[in-house]
Symmetry: C2
Subunit: 299 residues, 2 copies
């Protein structure tokens, strides 16, 4: 199988109550591609500016990520600045600069267009729809979104939702789109809009996966050392889809394991800033947490 | 084994966005005793006023609850009025009237004092400590509390916490008592204060059980028809302790199953007002949800 990920490569400035980190590597594509790289060799589509470090592209390549779809444009890389409260679930956006992302028209090259699994990371839904139309015959299309697009582009967003198999969002966003306060009901409404699987990301409370005949609830791997939650959701999605790409089947038991690996990879991401922990983890550590998570929930 | 439950019997007035219910049966003891009654024959200690319906005591007796410890005093029954928002997790207390609870001095009669398991439901920590001292040689003592006591009686509360084995509270309360924003760290601090097991109730997100060498995470049984969340935590605690009283051992696998039954009984409670659904459930329905919950989380 092959997995194509479309998303952002970015500079993030992150402020937590303890420390401020300026212009570290971020973006949905960075986290999801690296998380996926432990299971398969993802191909990525993104745009960077002249200021983006070639060393990070090299790092992606060393981890088996196909970066031929990364375009370098004149100008500055997408920039996001966020601040977290004492409770790491409290996040506020301080500043967003689209920069080279402003005029990004992602193109799927010939072999990219043959993707078996396509992940439309969190970007403008109009771009997501455009990319969706370029994929020839994907077996599975997944998308992620955030409240920005729910508020500013509800109609394009709903059009994309109709065209995907797997929809990722956090609990508040699922409730917003479905206009219902009960998460299960909201999730079922989203299923009626198109996707066959809705994956509700609940941060420290884990994830809820809802299909038409399928429901799976997963605890988050318990972390005491939460340094920076940025990228947790993207890491979850990347590992989830990377695992499915590896096994090549979408049976309920695959979906459950894929989500557990998603939770495990997210737990590594949040233990350090940027992708620092995510790139340093070993396969043995991943398997160890996977087994620990399985024990954590079994009764 | 034998389980003694000390708590409140009350009249609740509940307002949801849909409906207002006046003076329905409530109180921690009502919910926890009924939930426990599906597993064992609990003995309860509580006080009611002259206005409390003898029919409810009869109902408890028919469910095998030993009500010899319920005292009827001159005056009015404890009264609580609460309001829920569209999101059932948003609860505000409109009014509390202690009434006969004001001067309640609970006494454990001779056979009650021989309890193997003692549950100190959510009442004034000074009363909890007094009752704790009356139990002769309990194998397991559990307690519940709410933010009212954390704010108004922090020192008596900490004294009781030192004398119990199992501590129940919701996630915000655990963080408040431990003065730490990370739930795992907060839970571990509470373990250092005395209990060998901390059970964090997280409402729709389930529960987290933390012991010194033990961790267990449990999803909530997914409910679409949440009518009134009042009593969910008490039902969880009652079923948890009722199941342990039934099996008579406290092995990790018992603790896990007990928590799953707790989650199942709480899921019934919130599907109707007061104890209406809780008293109408069958053993087959309980087992069915238990198995569904097991499937929901397995991977």
């Amino acid at each position: 199988m092959s997995l194509v990920i479309v998303g952002s490569l970015a500079f993030d400035t992150i402020e937590t109550p303890q420390v401020r980190k300026e212009r570290i590597i971020g973006g949905s594509c960075a986290f999801s591609a690296l998380a996926a790289s432990y299971f398969t060799s993802p191909r990525i589509v993104a745009v960077v500016g002249e200021d983006f470090p070639p060393e990070f592209i090299d790092l992606l390549n060393r981890r088996g990520v196909d970066t031929r779809g990364v375009i370098r444009e004149a100008g500055k890389t997408f920039y996001w600045e966020g601040r977290y409260g004492e409770d790491p679930n409290q996040r506020s956006t301080v500043r967003t600069e689209l920069n080279v992302f402003q005029d990004f028209q992602p193109r799927l090259g010939r072999d990219y267009a043959e993707a078996d699994i396509l992940f439309l990371g969190n970007i403008d839904p109009d771009l997501q729809e455009d990319i969706r139309s370029q994929a020839r015959n994907p077996q599975l299309v997944a998308m992620d979104t955030i409240n920005l697009w729910i508020n500013t582009k509800p109609e394009p967003l709903k059009r994309v939702i109709r065209q995907v198999d797997v929809f990722f969002a956090n609990d508040e966003e699922v409730k917003m789109i479905a206009a219902h306060h009960n998460l299960i009901t909201a999730g079922r409404r989203l299923l009626e809009m198109g996707p066959s699987l809705v994956i509700v990301k609940k941060g420290e409370h884990g994830a809820l996966l809802l299909g038409r005949e399928f429901i799976f609830g997963l605890m988050a791997y318990p972390c005491e050392a939460v340094v920076d939650p940025t990228g947790a959701g993207d890491s979850f999605a990347g590992a989830f889809l990377g695992f499915l790409d590896k096994v090549g089947t979408f049976h309920p038991e695959d979906i459950r394991k894929a989500a557990a690996y998603g939770s495990v990879m997210a737990s590594f991401t949040i233990e350090d800033f940027s992708v620092d922990r995510l790139v340093a983890v070993s396969s043995a550590e991943i398997e160890e947490r996977f087994e620990a998570l399985r024990k954590l929930v079994a009764f």
